[in-house]
């Protein structure tokens, strides 16, 4: 296993190993609740909270968790934080909670969170685990916001509820409907692939850092 610096721990998840756009983890929320920027932001923040909380706890308790039941323990810890996030959202912003519906509860099975616990938090000191969680969480929020703005802009002609193009704009309603989620993510991934291809005309064999292998486990 290659040793990483603190800076790498923090920055890696944000772009180079972005959980959604590069590693394709946590696709369900990324597609389901990104029909507006507001929903995307609420989902991103809730996931961020759960990820940081569970990484912190898993990393603190790593010596106490028996190896055989570690996955179940991680899921229990994650489920606890999700319950907290669910109830907080319901109390503070009931409308958004209603719009997100069951998808808040489904943060539990977001493979990105479990993946970070298994691949990182369970092996590293608390500080490192938190840095990694913050980085990955921010990367997730960025991906969700990208999707959310693209879909709201095209599907509704607005950003955060503020109309941008005036009344003559004919919205692409399909973009805020389910197919739009697939199209938007597909387009983003195609665009990223295209940029990468142009940047590195002769691609060198890439050395995948740890974390990418988790995709198989998901």
């Amino acid at each position: 296993m290659r040793e990483t610096t603190r800076q790498e721990d923090l920055l890696r998840g944000i772009w180079r190993e972005n959980p959604v756009l590069i590693q394709l983890l946590g696709l369900c929320p990324a597609l389901a609740v990104t029909n507006s920027v507001e929903n995307a932001l609420a989902m991103g923040l809730a996931t961020f909270f759960v990820l940081c909380g569970s990484s912190l706890l898993v990393s603190t308790l790593k010596k106490l968790i028996p190896h055989e039941v570690r996955i179940s323990t991680y899921i229990l810890i994650i489920a606890t934080f999700v319950t907290v996030a669910d109830m907080t959202l319901e109390a503070v912003v009931p409308e958004i909670h209603k719009a997100l519906g069951a998808f808040i509860a489904l943060i539990v099975v977001n493979c990105m969170i479990l993946g970070r616990q298994e691949a990182f938090a369970s092996k590293r000191p608390v500080g490192r685990a938190l840095l990694d969680a913050v980085g990955t969480g921010v990367g997730f929020i960025i991906a969700l916001l990208l999707m959310g703005s693209l879909r709201e802009l095209l599907g509704n002609g607005s950003l955060l509820g503020i109309s941008l193009f005036g009344p003559s704009y004919e919205p692409w309603v399909v973009m805020i409907l389910p197919p739009g989620g697939f199209f938007a993510l597909g387009a983003l991934i195609l665009a990223l692939g295209w940029i990468q291809q142009r940047r590195a005309p002769r691609s060198q064999p890439q050395e995948w850092p740890e974390g990418v292998a988790d995709r198989e486990a998901a």
Binding site: L27, C28, I75, L114, G181, G186
Partner: protein, 192 residues
């Protein structure tokens, strides 16, 4: 009876779990490259979903009325353990079936479709029978989506696709088109 039929049909095509609710995307992306694998995955899904539905009904009726805040935690623990037990039983009773479904069962347990089903069922207040029909409908819907996707991908392997679009990008665009097609079923419920 007619209502039960509509629950099944609605879960299967109108609100297809994968194509309109985005649940169970991991297997949809991961194991949809061969029709045969997709079929097995679908069968395993129907199986786990049915068990989940019964579990969720049992928990809701007898346990969780006292402590609703434990819902999420108890769902996931009970479902995961039960699937493990069933897996052991199948391994003992029918090794052939185990070899066909075996590797998929543990993977499915952490799939969002399973927990999603339990939560939707609770939110909509389905009883045991309604829940069962809902689960079977959802499972059939997942299988349908998987098999459709796998057949398209088997064919698209032979197509000349630009290098950059190979892989996930193309799969997502295909999924989008499928989802668009499934939106056509939305009229089915209002017509009824």
């Amino acid at each position: 009876m007619q209502e039960l039929f509509w629950i099944l049909l609605s879960a299967m095509v109108v609100n297809n779990f994968t194509l309109s609710l985005f649940l169970g995307l991991c297997p949809f992306m991961g194991v949809s490259s061969r029709v045969e694998t997709a079929l097995r995955m679908g069968a395993a899904n129907i199986f786990v979903l049915t068990i989940t539905s019964i579990c969720a009904w049992f928990l809701n009726t007898f346990v969780l009325a006292e402590a609703p805040y434990l819902r999420l935690i108890s769902f996931i623990v009970v479902i995961a353990s039960l699937v493990q037990i069933v897996e052991m039983v199948i391994k003992k009773l029918s090794p052939t079936l185990f070899r066909q479904l075996g590797i998929f069962l543990p993977l499915i347990t952490t799939n969002c479709a399973i927990l999603g089903l339990a939560i939707f069922q609770t939110n909509r207040g389905y009883g045991l029978l309604e829940g069962l029909f809902f689960a079977i409908g959802a499972g059939l819907g997942l299988t349908l989506a998987l098999v459709l996707m796998a057949s398209i991908r088997e064919n698209s392997e032979l197509a000349s696709v630009p290098e950059v679009a190979k892989g996930t990008g193309l799969t997502l665009i295909i999924a989008g088109s499928l989802s668009l097609a499934f939106m056509g079923f939305a009229g089915l419920l209002s017509a009824a």
